[in-house]
Each structure stands twice: as structure tokens, then as C-alpha cells.
Symmetry: C2
Subunit: 324 residues, 2 copies
């Protein structure tokens, strides 16, 4: 039992992961030694997130390798967007069922494309054999030490703050039947599934404006609950104001609120910031919708997330996909 590949497979892995990725001025030592070494830029804090995705849990095992790579890296980078960080690099832990040469080449192709889009270095990683395809990605980036030394956290929402969301909610959840039936398609809604857009410019622009933020990966309502709990406020959302992939009379509308995988940003901000946020929406050409307000929690009750429709409280059966 051992750690590292050898022989011809070592050469394959080296070919797939040693070149063609963006170079980064901060990277002093990349793939190929016991560890990577980077030089932290002055006046910046390091922001890091580790994501694990498992075949047939997080994506269809028979999806094209290139699309799996795209989606996995984009989902990971989204956590940096949610913090307002500027991405720098990533490390990859890859567990593969077999020695699939073509699969690995295709995976590396998608990974290089996505890394190039975000300008991030592949710093290192570990490729192992195992009974299932499991992908762990550590992404990291920088946030200026002032004025927001920890970037955008989940815990800063205050009573009276507005609740905002970027883009449209639900396309990825509604694409799931299509993706599962035909994992090779990237048409229509499936593009939202395989190519989620980390809202990096938005996150960076919200530093100093938003009081709390996260990216929606488990469904709007469940993720709203994370802000509520971390900030100790309740969130009252107005159903008609939520920008969904289908209208609120449509039978799929509830799935848009509870389905995961959108990777839009949910954030809170003082009402005094409304003009700044609307200007930001214009500048980024990205819809930013005010969907509710932070309120005190009911006496003796934990923070809650409620949705009203036609002024009446809405009962939704689930508040997000819980796979573990």
C-alpha cells in the first residue's frame, strides 16, 4: 500500500497535470515536488475552500470527463466568489476506478480550459486508484486585508438588511432530468448544470457593501438558512420577487427554490446600499434582485427562513437536497 503512482501511469499523470495550466506570479514551486510553494502578496489574506464531488452523488458517472472537470472546478471556484476573493490556484485530489487513459486526457482538457478561464495555477495534487471516481479540489485566492479582512462571511447580516440574489434561480435543478437522461448534452438548461458561473466580479465588488454572502449550492432556501443561523436573524422572502427559471404559477416553481446547484450569490446589505447595488447590476450586466428582508426571529424561536406568496406564508416540503 503506497501513495504515489509509478511507471507508465506516472508519465500519463505527468502529461495531464504538468503543463498547459496558467502560470501565476505567486507560484514559486508547482506540480512535481513533495509540496508546492507560493509567495503570499503583501496586504492580502489567503482564502481557501476544499470541495469533494463523488460520481453518481454529485454528477452522473457517465458524463463526459471534460464536463465533469469543468463543473467540478467551477463549483469550487464559486466558494471563492462567495467570499469576494480573487482566485490564485488549486490542488487536485483525484481517485479513479481504472487506468483510463482517454478519460484522464479528457478530464485534464476540461480542467485546463476552466483553469485558464479563471487564470489559476494547478499547484499540485495526488492521483490514486480507487473503487469510485472521487474528486477533491482545494481552491484558494486572496482578499485585501482592509476593509474586510475575512472577505464576505455568512455571519454579518443584521435586522433591517435587504436580502438579494444574483441571476436566476432554478435552471440547474430543472436541468437534472435532462442531464441524468442524457449526460452528454450541454444544450439549453444543461449548460447551467455543467458550466455554472462563479460570480467572481460580483463577489469582489460586494466587499464593503454586503453584510453577508454565500453561493447557492444546496438550494436557495437551505442556503438562506445558513445565513440566518450564522447571523442570528430570520429571513423573510417574498416569492414574487425571487427571479426563478419559471414563473411562480408553474408547477416546477417550488423546485427552483429548493433545488441546488445554481451557484448564484445570495447576500444581504443595508437598505442604504440599494443604489450602489443597482449600479453594480448595470455595470456587471447581471440582474440583482431584492427578494426580502432580515427580521428579528420570533421570541424563543431559532432563526427561520420564510417565503410569502400573495402575502400569505408558503409551506414548502423540503428546504434543499440533503445527500449526506
Amino acid at each position: 500500500m503506497s501513495e504515489q503512482p509509478g511507471g507508465s501511469e506516472f508519465a500519463l499523470i505527468q502529461r495531464c497535470f504538468s503543463s498547459g495550466y496558467p502560470q501565476n506570479a505567486a507560484t514559486l514551486l508547482g506540480v512535481g515536488d513533495d509540496a508546492s510553494v507560493i509567495c503570499p502578496p503583501a496586504g492580502q489574506h489567503l482564502v481557501q475552500s476544499l470541495d469533494t464531488q463523488v460520481a453518481d452523488v454529485h454528477f452522473p458517472a457517465n458524463a463526459p470527463a471534460q464536463l465533469i472537470a469543468q463543473r467540478t472546478l467551477r463549483c469550487a471556484v464559486s466558494d471563492l466568489a462567495a467570499m469576494g476573493a480573487t482566485p490564485q490556484g488549486f490542488l487536485l485530489g483525484l481517485t479513479l476506478p481504472d487506468n483510463q487513459t482517454d478519460w484522464l486526457d479528457d478530464f485534464a482538457h476540461g480542467l485546463r480550459d476552466a483553469a485558464t478561464e479563471f487564470g489559476i495555477s494547478l499547484l499540485g495534487g495526488d492521483t490514486t486508484r480507487g473503487p469510485a471516481l472521487v474528486i477533491s479540489i482545494l481552491v484558494q485566492g486572496w482578499v485585501a486585508t482592509a476593509p474586510t479582512p475575512t472577505g464576505l462571511t455568512r455571519s454579518g447580516a443584521r435586522v433591517g438588511d435587504d436580502v438579494w440574489v444574483s441571476g436566476y434561480i432554478g435552471a440547474a435543478a430543472l436541468s437534472l432530468p435532462t442531464v441524468l437522461a442524457n449526460p452528454e448534452t450541454t444544450d439549453g438548461l444543461a449548460a447551467a448544470y455543467y458550466y455554472p458561473t462563479p460570480r467572481l466580479s460580483l463577489g469582489q465588488s460586494l466587499l464593503g457593501i454586503a453584510t453577508a454572502a454565500l453561493d447557492i449550492s444546496d438550494g436557495l432556501l437551505q442556503d438562506a438558512h445558513h445565513i440566518a443561523t450564522a447571523s442570528a436573524v430570520s429571513l423573510a422572502l417574498t416569492g414574487e420577487q425571487i427571479p426563478t427559471a419559471v414563473g411562480c404559477g408553474h408547477p416546477d416553481w417550488p423546485n427552483c427554490l429548493t433545488g441546488g446547484d445554481d451557484y448564484e450569490l445570495l447576500f444581504t446589505a443595508s437598505p442604504a446600499q440599494q443604489a450602489s447595488i443597482q449600479a453594480l447590476a448595470q455595470r456587471l450586466a447581471l440582474p440583482l434582485s431584492r427578494i426580502g428582508q432580515c427580521q428579528p426571529s420570533a421570541p424563543g424561536q431559532p432563526p427561520a427562513v420564510t417565503v410569502s406568496l400573495d402575502g400569505l406564508p408558503l409551506q414548502l416540503k423540503t428546504s434543499g437536497y440533503q445527500h449526506f
Copy 2:
């Protein structure tokens, strides 16, 4: 398909991973947000390594969870030792077959113990369900920007340098039959398997002394080959001088040279450093053995690793365990 746990399992994960780990002054934001945030200390470079270990590939799936955690974190930290880095923190990607409450509690117990020994913070991570137990650990630490800005790499060995190894080689490989037959035992050789010692003090002391270094995770000979290739020199080792768990007349002796999992440091240094290295061995109470020399490669041949015994070249069947 989604990213994050929810409900009661969320509470379980929170209990296991949110407290009881060392706190670190560099950590501004730890477990529980979209990402962690750390403040890089001035005059230091960041050293990072990601290790993935898979049940029944890297360790017996039925080994006690506490021992699996110990071994996995210790192996990961060993990569920092090989760079001469001072550990700071880690992130954990954990894929579990079932919702095994007891398993996760025991795993967290072992993880906390090992993290406490090394004084490293748990910065974040991701726990997912999957068909097999897969553990990915990102460890990181610091190395001073001068005099060795990238720490101890594999590529600095020069013709004429001595080749050194710490401790004794082969105990972990020889323990494998015992560990596989009885995964619960930690007696005798099995301790070498479950509790490898990252040679952190040695690595840090070798900054400015060693020209190249790595930790032995795939067998002495295969890992020596990594230094040879990266440094473009050949390594000529003297069998009698290699400090092995059994003597060189023993039938298991070749396994000591080719088996993995020792996590001792293999390093090279100018002969002018012999006195410093011997003094270091005294100070650390750790045997450091000079086992060979760096030589020019044969004309037209790639860098090679050779072992002599009784002055004659030795033929060994394998040069390391290749699991991928």
C-alpha cells in the same frame, strides 16, 4: 445532487469537526463558512501538499477509524517535513460509505489527537457520502523566504553530494502482513505503520544544509529515483550502510529497500556538511546514516539508482510499490 450535508448529519459533522482542534494565530476564519481565511506571516512562503488515501488501497478499510485518521494526517504532514516547513493547518475532504456515527466520532478523535501533536488548525473541508471511504487532506505550513525560499526540493542534488537517510528503513513494509491480518493491532511493527513520525525538526534543521530532500513513501529505491530524476544525477548506494529494520543477510532485507510507508527523510548534502549533520543527529537523537553518493549518470543514460553489496552491484526485482 448537491454539495453539503444537512439535518442531523450536519449536526454530527459539526460536532466532529468544529471544535477541539488547535487554534492558530494565523487563522482568521475557520470551519463553517464558504471558505477559511488565514493571515500569512511576514517573511514566510506558504508550502502546501494534498494527499488522497483510499480504503483498501492505502490502508485496510476495517482498521479502527482512530488509527486511519492518525496515519492519514501523519502521512500528509510528512510532506511538509520533507520541505523543511513548519505546519500551520489542514483541510479535510472526507467521503464516507454510510452514515456511521460511531465511525465518524472515532475518526475525529484520532484526527484531533494528531492535529494537537502537530499544533495545526482544522481550517475547513467537505464531508460527502460515496461508495468508498476516501480521505483527502490538504496540509500547509510556512518556510522562511531566506535563505531557502522554496524549502527543500528534490532537484538540488549535485555530483559529489553524499546521500543520507534518517532512522531505520523497512519497519512499515515488514508490518504489512501483521496489519492486514489484524488491523486493530498497534503492537510492535504495526506502530510504525499507523503512527509514522513526520521528521519535522529534521526537515527544518536541514534548511541551508541539504541540497535535496523527500520523505520515503513509496520505498527507498523508488523515492531515491525521484531525487535522481529531478536533480539529473545518479545515486550510488552502499547496501551495508543502509539502516534497515533487518540485517542485509535476512530474506526480508530487499523488502526494506523497496517497500513503502517509512516516512523517513532521504536527503543529499555536500561532504562539507558531514560534521553538521552528525551534530544534528546527536541533537535530535535520531540516527542519520550516510548511505551513498551522487555521481554523474553513465554517458547517454538517464539518471539511475544503484545499490552495491560486498562491492558488487545488486539486482532488485522491483523498485517500489506502484498502486496506480
